[in-house]
Subunit: 562 residues, 2 copies
């Protein structure tokens, strides 16, 4: 197997010389003309991913319709083959990089932060439980089903275990051997995760639609009680599997962006993550957030029970009214808090962090992109309500809910993006400076959380490398006079992030575990018809749910950085 041919050998040497030299203000030397063209190497892997994703998308969407002669086992067959190829590639990758000492000359400290990897393991465990339930459910029908229905969850379980291990150990790697093979392998992994995600989302939507539409017509009769438990169990665990695929996709994408990248080691020695959750003073944010979370759980349970059990339309309306009122209060509060946070950032004197950071670019793109799902649902709701002639209380609540949903997503995105682009707080660094100067120490001991310290190996603005030279005398004076004011601001931002974080969790839980006011309230269903409105919701809602999960991760980062 060996280390393979190194395409970037020449530029590896020149770049490392540049980064270990004693002139940190000099950018790394420009790539030589012999260096393989990076865009060209990426293009092939992108083409591979696009074609595989389209093929999977075609099969999944065709398999979702009963009248179309594509069946779910065709989809499972494709997914099983893709997962097997990815498993083989991951083993090849792990063996080849462990054998070759200079395969990974540097690591991207921004990639795969510990809570992302922790979340991945949590979702992986739930996915494994789901696979066990699936195997149990399908094995009771073994005689009359095709073998692929049992093989698929078994292969998926192996895939989840191996991929989670792979991402745990390799998420930060900047690989420098087998560049093209690695790019293609990573894109294959990404596409497989997206295909599994598409399949799970479609499967869940079809199941939801069936249980909503056929509930009153026929009650399925199961011979054994345990099959029913297995089936209900794995449908309840689908949201975790869906999130697992998305988390894994995001981490694999960042790994793909980092293939062949060089990062200066200097700036990465000085910061360590210290998540001092309980050393910080906070109270209002977490209390308000916990109240929202607990009352939201209560509302969800009452709503599910009332909507699903009774055919009484007045009880259903009561449940809908309660659901909308809770959401309107929650979204209104969150919007106000986000506006407050953005205003606070306006008065913040911290520098913007403009450095190259694939993880952050992806974060921002995912936040903006995933919000489109909820935006679309809300706009369709608004048009339906405004264009309908009948007016009642539920419609008014639904309209307010849709408008606030748009406002809240917009303000929250602005708040999070501003937060992610701030430099880590300066007070801590100034503090260090004060402590350090009397002793003349040269070692910079940054004792705050400094996740976003820029890597000077990247392209632009090398003179803003954080350190002693970046602090101007005027700021030293300011740090003596204005530190109390600054601390008040930082505390406020922390409270805001904590409240928003907990509120986003409850707004994730509600749709992820089955609350569908979009169907229970029949306004839009009557307006757009039985085929268009379910299509809109089933395509857009998964993005809306993913948005909440992703906002939680980003808000945790904003919390730590403020």
């Amino acid at each position: 197997m060996g280390c393979g041919h190194k395409d970037d050998k020449a530029s590896l040497a020149s770049s490392q010389t540049a980064s270990f030299s004693h002139q940190p203000h000099q950018p790394p030397s420009p790539p030589t003309s012999k260096e393989v063209w990076k865009k060209g190497g990426r293009m092939f892997s992108i083409l591979l991913a696009v074609h595989l994703a389209l093929l999977a998308c075609t099969l999944v969407s065709s398999g979702a319709f009963e009248k179309i002669a594509v069946h779910d086992y065709d989809v499972f067959f494709l997914l099983t083959i893709m997962m097997l190829i990815v498993i083989v590639w991951i083993i090849f990758y792990l063996v080849s990089t462990s054998r070759c000492p200079d395969a990974i000359p540097c690591k991207d400290s921004h990639a795969g932060p510990v809570w992302l990897r922790g979340g991945l393991i949590l979702f992986a465990i739930f996915s494994l439980v789901m696979d066990v339930f699936k195997i149990g459910y399908y094995s009771s029908f073994y005689s009359c089903l095709s073998a692929i229905k049992i093989i698929y969850p078994i292969v998926q379980a192996i895939f989840v275990i191996i991929q989670t291990y792979f991402l745990w150990v390799s998420a930060k790697d900047c690989v420098h051997v087998h560049l093209n093979v690695t790019r293609c392998g990573l894109m294959l992994t990404l596409t497989t995760n997206l295909a599994v995600w598409m399949s799970a989302v479609t499967d869940e939507s079809v199941h939801k639609a069936h249980s909503k539409l056929k509930k009153n017509v026929t009650e399925e009769i199961f011979k054994c009680q345990i099959c029913q438990i297995f089936k209900n169990g794995y449908f309840w665990l689908y949201p975790f599997n869906i999130e697992y695929s998305l988390f894994a996709s995001a981490m694999v994408y960042v790994m793909w962006k980092n293939v062949g990248r060089f990062i200066d080691h200097h700036s990465h020695h000085i910061h360590r993550l210290k998540f001092r959750l309980f050393q910080r003073t906070f109270f209002v944010g977490i209390v308000l957030g916990l109240i929202t979370l607990v009352s939201g759980l209560g509302v969800l349970i009452v709503y599910e029970v009332q909507v699903n059990s009774s055919n009484d339309s007045s009880k259903k309306n009561e449940a809908l009214t309660m659901y909308y009122i809770f959401n309107i209060v929650c979204l209104g509060l969150m919007s106000l808090v986000c506006i407050g946070g953005s205003v606070t950032y306006r008065f913040d004197k911290r520098d913007m962090d403009r450095h190259k950071n694939p993880t952050r670019t992806l974060d921002v793109a995912l936040l903006m992109g995933a919000a489109l799902g909820q935006y679309a649902i809300s706009y369709y709701s608004i048009v339906a309500i405004v264009a309908s002639t009948s007016r009642d209380a539920i419609s008014a609540l639904n309209l307010t809910y849709a408008l606030l949903m748009i406002a809240q997503h917009t303000f929250q995105n602005i708040f999070i993006i501003e937060g992610l682009h701030r430099q880590p707080p300066k007070e801590d660094r100034k503090h260090d400076l004060h402590q350090k100067n009397p002793y003349g120490l040269t070692f910079v001991n940054v004792n705050a959380v400094s996740l976003r310290i820029p890597d000077s190996g990247s392209a632009l603005a090398p003179s803003t490398v954080p350190g002693i030279e970046a602090i101007r005398p005027s700021e030293l004076v300011q740090s003596l006079t204005g530190s109390k004011k600054m601390n008040w601001r930082r505390k406020f931002l922390r409270e805001i992030s904590m409240f928003l974080l907990l509120s986003n969790i409850i707004l994730w839980i509600m749709p992820a575990f089955g609350a569908r006011p979009q169907f229970d309230n029949d306004k839009e269903l009557n307006f757009y018809g039985d085929s268009m409105w379910p299509a809109i919701v089933d395509i857009c809602l998964p993005f809306g749910i993913f948005y909440r999960m992703h906002a939680v991760a980003s808000l945790l980062e904003v919390y730590i950085m403020s």
Copy 2:
């Protein structure tokens, strides 16, 4: 009105100092902390565009269905208001930039090349004719229609005239006053064009679907013959209006990317576009291309006549067979030629051009993105044909056609992207060096077409600025020995680009002017049903048609550069 406050005044000064200094190897000084954060300024305009686009998309998609209580005049009302706002903003922009002498300190020479602006004017003229036809058609129904149906084409005509003038004079501008207003105005213009595009595409699809499905049921009776001519006329002119909107969108997007950008003037003095079409030797490419174009036009006319006039299924099958065979031959030839071109590039010794260039980045993204439309249609076709049990000659031809469509798009994209990323040919510059050295001239007279000469004002690799210092002695020797070989390669690439260009024109004309084998061949329609397959084709085909137009523009650029 005045010049407004200049947010980037400080960095304007520092950047210009850097770019006019005598150290071309030094990158421009990093932005100061006082400089307004570019991403933040862009974010608001993006949010505005996203919300407006979603609102327009909701109304347009709802208006397309007869049973939904949103009517086309609701859509026209929104579009009219948007166009009026854009007209006001364009006038404000033109007045404010003409009053303020330093509003546009530099121009992006890559933006708005002359054939793009020429194409824009051509499509604008056809759009105006279409508007005249529309006004004529609707004014004959004036008594029973709402006024907006006549106001809309009038406002659209004014909008087209003013926007075309605006893009003709301002496409290259890098604006530096009213940064945020300009960004929002440009995004509003972009969204308006996209909304007009969506509306036109939907209108045309609905019209096509009606004429296909209702053709045999009822024949519409018009009181006056002239109304019928007007109606047919404006539906025939729709493809031009659709392309106009997309061309304008692309140019406005590049202007938006260039707001607040600084470009070094040095590197832009030395190149001028010299499109020496008839001084170059070519023969095979243009002859083959013209044969394809003419025979394609013949095939299209025969196909349209046979499919539309007769209800005889054997004649229809004949027409489909002829259409598929022509396309298979054409696509096969194009794929082979693209592979040949890519192989030629592999042996090409020219350097890759890695410099920042928003126009090129957009070109590549649009090529890759627009190809997805045709990919999706082809994959759905393949799945339908493979999963169907019945096999006949038409299905085999359709399958080959779909597979070749995928292959041709892929190979053509690789060829174009490689071509766009090449430096302009070196021989000309070496030639200049030879001519220059005996006389000791310092003025670099590049007499070839050098569209892609990098701007050293952008971020990376300032040492590869074209000029005398970039040419190594080994290359000088090579230029003496290998210039014949090089010329043969360049000639081959030119032939290829010219053939591909003409072939793409005929592949644009065919679907744009009504050939719909996707519906005439009823395989997929039976497989996916009457609602899903039209939805797939109507959403994806406009992107496929746009791909062809855009490929023509890109191939023209590749032709000029090789």
